[in-house]
C-alpha cells in the first residue's frame, strides 16, 4: 500500500512541477522595451556644442557587419537628430569638425543555450527542443537584437601609438521583443534621452 501511494505522489508531483508559467506574456510591445543608458561620469557635456551622426545604421550580426538604411533606420536617425537638437546641440556635417559623433548600430547575437528541466520559465517561453540529445537536457537557440547608440568624443581624441581613438562618453542600448517596431521608434529615442538629463547643455 505504501509503495503504491508514494508512486502516485511522485506522478502527481511531476505534474505539478511541469506546470510552466509565463509571467511576461501579457506585456505590450511598448512595455517589453528596456532602455539601458550609461555615460562617462567624468565627461563635462557643456564643452560640446556640435554633433554629427552616421548616415546609415551599422548592422552587426554575430561578428559580421554591414550597413542598412531602410524606413526604420531613417526614422531612428531622424529622431536622434531631433532629440540631440532638443538637448542643445547643433547638427553639423561630419566634415565640419563636430565635437561629438553619434553612432547607431543594430546588433544581433545568436546563442545556443542549454537548460535543465528545473527551469519553469524557459520551458514554456522558448519551447525547448532536443534531438538525439539525452532527454535530461534541452537545447534552444535564441537570438537577441538590440539598438546601440553611442556618443563619441571627437573633441578630445586619445592619441596612441596605433593612431587616434575616441572615447565613448554616452551609450544607450534598447532591448526587448519590440525594438523592430517602427511605430515605437520615437518613443524609444525619446526615452533614452529622457533618462539622460545630464546630456542637456545650455
Amino acid at each position: 500500500m505504501f509503495k503504491k501511494a508514494s508512486f502516485l505522489l511522485l506522478i502527481v508531483g511531476l505534474g505539478v512541477m511541469s506546470c510552466s508559467k509565463d509571467p511576461i506574456s501579457d506585456l505590450s510591445n511598448e512595455e517589453s522595451l528596456v532602455y539601458i543608458t550609461n555615460h562617462d561620469k567624468s565627461a563635462n557635456f557643456n564643452q560640446y556644442k556640435t554633433f554629427s551622426i552616421v548616415d546609415s545604421v551599422l548592422i552587426v550580426e554575430n561578428s559580421r557587419a554591414g550597413t542598412s538604411l531602410d524606413d526604420i533606420d531613417r526614422a531612428m536617425l531622424q529622431r536622434l537628430i531631433t532629440n540631440m537638437e532638443a538637448m542643445g546641440y547643433k547638427h553639423v556635417g561630419r566634415k565640419e569638425n563636430p565635437d561629438v559623433g553619434i553612432n547607431v548600430s543594430w546588433i544581433t547575437n545568436t546563442y545556443l543555450n542549454v537548460y535543465q528541466p528545473l527551469s519553469s520559465y524557459y520551458g514554456g517561453y522558448w519551447g525547448g527542443y532536443g534531438y538525439g540529445y539525452p532527454s535530461y537536457y534541452s537545447y534552444y537557440q535564441t537570438s537577441e537584437s538590440s539598438w546601440v547608440i553611442s556618443m563619441l568624443d571627437f573633441k578630445n581624441p586619445q592619441t596612441t601609438s596605433s593612431g587616434k581613438t575616441f572615447n565613448v562618453i554616452w551609450e544607450a542600448q534598447i532591448r526587448g521583443a519590440a525594438i523592430g517596431d517602427q511605430k515605437l521608434v520615437d518613443k524609444m529615442t525619446d526615452s533614452i534621452f529622457g533618462q539622460s538629463g545630464y546630456l542637456k547643455i545650455k
Binding site: M1, F2, A5, S6, L8, L9, V12, G13, V16, M17, C19, K21, P23, I24, L27, E31, S32, L33, V34, Y35, I36, T37, N38, H39, L118, S119, S120, Y121, E171, R175, G176, A177, S191, Q195, S196
Partner: protein, 219 residues
C-alpha cells in the same frame, strides 16, 4: 426462469435492507480506530507574503499554490507523520521605472517572480480522539525548497535557481464528511519560511497561506 428466480432472490434480499436502517457491519471499533491508517490530501492555497520579502520584493497575494501530502496516522497516538510536496508562486508587476545598476541606468517594466517547489516532512498533533469527525491539529514541517527567482526587465530576465532549507508551522482541522468515512475536508493556516538571500531578497522568503483541501483515508 432460473434467471428470474435469481433476480427475485436478489431483490428480496436487497430491498428490505435499503428500506430499513443500514445494518451495522461490525460491532467492534472501526479499523480507523484500531490500525495505523493512511491519509492523502490535495490542497489549494492562497499565499500572503510576509516580512521583508513583502516589503522589498513582492507584496501581492498569490492564488497559484497547491500541494499534495500523504501521511500515516499512527496507532495509539495522536500523532501523524508524512510528506508533502507543493508548488507556490508569487508575482508582482512594477510599472516602468528607472533602476541604477553597474551597467548604467535601466528603464524597464519589472516583473518579479518567485516559484518554489517545497518538499517537506511534517508531523501533526491531533487534539481529539483519532477517529473523531472533527480533528483540529497543529503541524510542524521542514524540508527543502527548489526555488526559482526570476526578475524580468521587460522581456529580459535575470534568474537564480537554488535548493534551500525551509520550515513551516501550521494549525488546521480535518472534517470527515461522514462519521467513520473515508473522505473529508482539510482546512489549514500555515506559516512558511525559506532561507534565501539574493538580489532583492535579504532575509528569506516568508509567507502565510490559507489552504483548503480534500483528503482520502484508508487502512
Amino acid at each position: 426462469m432460473k434467471r428470474i428466480i435469481i433476480i427475485a432472490l436478489f431483490l428480496g434480499s436487497v430491498l428490505p435492507a435499503l428500506a430499513q436502517e443500514k445494518p451495522k457491519l461490525y460491532t467492534i471499533a472501526s479499523p480507523f480506530e484500531r490500525y495505523t491508517y493512511y491519509l492523502a490530501t490535495a490542497r489549494y492555497a492562497v499565499g500572503i507574503p510576509m516580512g521583508s520579502f513583502k516589503d522589498n520584493y513582492i507584496d501581492k497575494t498569490s492564488f497559484q499554490n497547491a500541494s499534495i501530502s500523504i501521511e500515516w496516522v499512527l496507532r495509539n497516538s495522536q500523532l501523524s507523520v508524512g510528506g508533502e510536496i507543493g508548488s507556490t508562486y508569487f508575482e508582482k508587476r512594477v510599472p516602468r521605472a528607472l533602476y541604477e545598476g553597474s551597467e548604467g541606468t535601466i528603464s524597464a517594466v519589472q516583473t518579479r517572480t518567485v516559484s518554489q517547489y517545497p518538499v517537506e516532512l511534517f508531523a501533526n498533533y491531533h487534539f481529539p480522539p483519532r477517529n473523531a469527525q472533527v480533528q483540529p491539529y497543529v503541524q510542524i514541517s521542514g524540508g527543502a525548497s527548489i526555488l526559482d527567482y526570476t526578475v524580468y526587465y521587460g522581456t529580459l530576465s535575470s534568474q537564480d535557481q537554488k535548493v534551500r532549507f525551509k520550515y513551516g508551522i501550521g494549525a488546521g482541522s480535518k472534517f470527515l464528511f461522514k462519521k467513520d468515512g473515508n473522505v473529508g475536508l482539510d482546512v489549514r493556516v500555515k506559516y512558511d519560511a525559506t532561507a534565501y538571500k539574493y538580489d532583492y531578497i535579504d532575509k528569506g522568503i516568508s509567507s502565510v497561506s490559507g489552504s483548503i483541501g480534500l483528503f482520502y483515508r484508508w487502512w
